[in-house]
Symmetry: C2
Subunit: 238 residues, 2 copies
């Protein structure tokens, strides 16, 4: 029988340094044709909900793995006091087809999304970058900060967002995730307030208009913008 | 956390009468547009293996369910002394997206395939049909016999197949599944020997040529032919 991992099991089993190294390996494999991410399959559910089937294949010398993420996006869940998104991940041995693990997918998704920003920041940001301007305080925000802090230890995090509860949840999550290593976090008064002196920017919103203007950004600033996932969304002025 | 069901759990939880009634409900729902079976997604694995993602959706007054079967077909597994096919099934609440159950899919697949033949036999075969000619003694054979025996109690099962081990495995499986209710089973000498006097025929082979000629079949005989799954395969002379 396969290994069954709850969200807490996944949280306990994976740290951000490992997640970033996994992304380094995965992007390398994709670049050298040792990984595939076939087109996802979408199935319409009732009430404008959606199920997404997201397969992927990794074939390196060390690993032959087939992964499948099953995600449901149910807008009506907010009125049910339930998460809008549920995710499960199946991991199969790509050589034998045997199921190795079945796990809760929400935390891994957030970690992976963070880890990609962490990897990009490690490779592209200035070595001395240590102040982060963060736009958005939703589900993806904690792991974005965690990942960036892992590769560029932060002196300060400045948060631009609208929802008070989300802001306080973010602070609490980061203190839980980072403990004594948690950098000082403050809520910015404006995008200008957040961006002045910041050499790192993280955008994790569903905004349809740019979150800042380019003249607020100093030369050499590194920007991770991960929020937009439809053509209508736009976090950074093109 | 979702319910996790092993093969043994599924075997214990589902009998053939329930499976046939589930198929009655599912085909009814499909006919009235309350069910969908979207095009499956195939992903190539190494060594000419294949992963299939098979989603389905049921939306009746009583049930809103999203099912996903993940099947791997790995020809090389035979040389590894492992099953050629592995299957897992995820069952999600289609309204909320929550995972209800994750289960081993091999037994359910065999039961479902049997149940469809059982339903067809119940609706279409002569009421007094009680002798079955079975072609093939592979993985699907036991549940074909089980299903037909459930709706038309059998007086005799005559098996046409080539592999001795498969024949003996089939007899053992049926005795295990049916216990004292197991009908007499014998190996037929030829298709003619099997078909003479048989009012029920089940074909569960990967044959590429017809298994019998029409003049061996008596008028009013009911035939379930479930083996062919590519255009090259052919169990019944068209």
């Amino acid at each position: 029988m396969a290994l069954i991992l709850s969200r807490a099991d996944v949280q306990r089993s994976l740290d951000m340094t490992e997640a970033i190294n996994a992304m380094r390996l995965a992007f390398g494999a994709l670049y050298t044709d040792h990984a595939q991410a076939p087109q996802r399959l979408a199935v319409d559910l009732p009430e404008k909900s959606l199920a997404l089937l997201m397969p992927s294949l990794l074939q390196t010398n060390q690993q032959h793995m087939f992964g499948l993420k099953v995600v449901t996006i149910v807008p009506q869940n907010l009125s049910r006091n339930m998460p809008r998104i549920f995710a499960s991940i199946l991991l199969l041995d790509a050589t034998t087809g045997q199921t190795i693990a079945i796990m809760e997918g929400g935390w891994l998704t957030a970690m992976r999304t963070g880890a990609v920003s962490g990897l990009a920041t490690e490779l592209l940001a200035r070595k001395d970058a240590d102040i982060l301007a963060l736009f958005g305080a939703g589900a993806q925000a904690p792991t974005q900060v965690l990942a960036i802090h892992t590769v560029r230890p932060l002196r300060e995090v400045r948060v631009v967002n609208r929802n008070d509860t989300h802001y306080h949840d973010l602070v609490q999550s980061l203190q839980l995730l980072l403990g004594p290593a948690c950098p000082p976090i403050r809520r910015a008064l404006s995008s200008k307030d957040a961006l002045t002196g910041a050499s790192l920017v993280a955008c994790a919103t569903v905004s349809t208009t740019p979150l800042f203007s380019w003249n607020e950004i100093a030369p050499g600033t590194h920007i991770n913008a991960i929020g937009a996932f439809t053509p209508e969304m736009c976090e950074v002025d093109p």
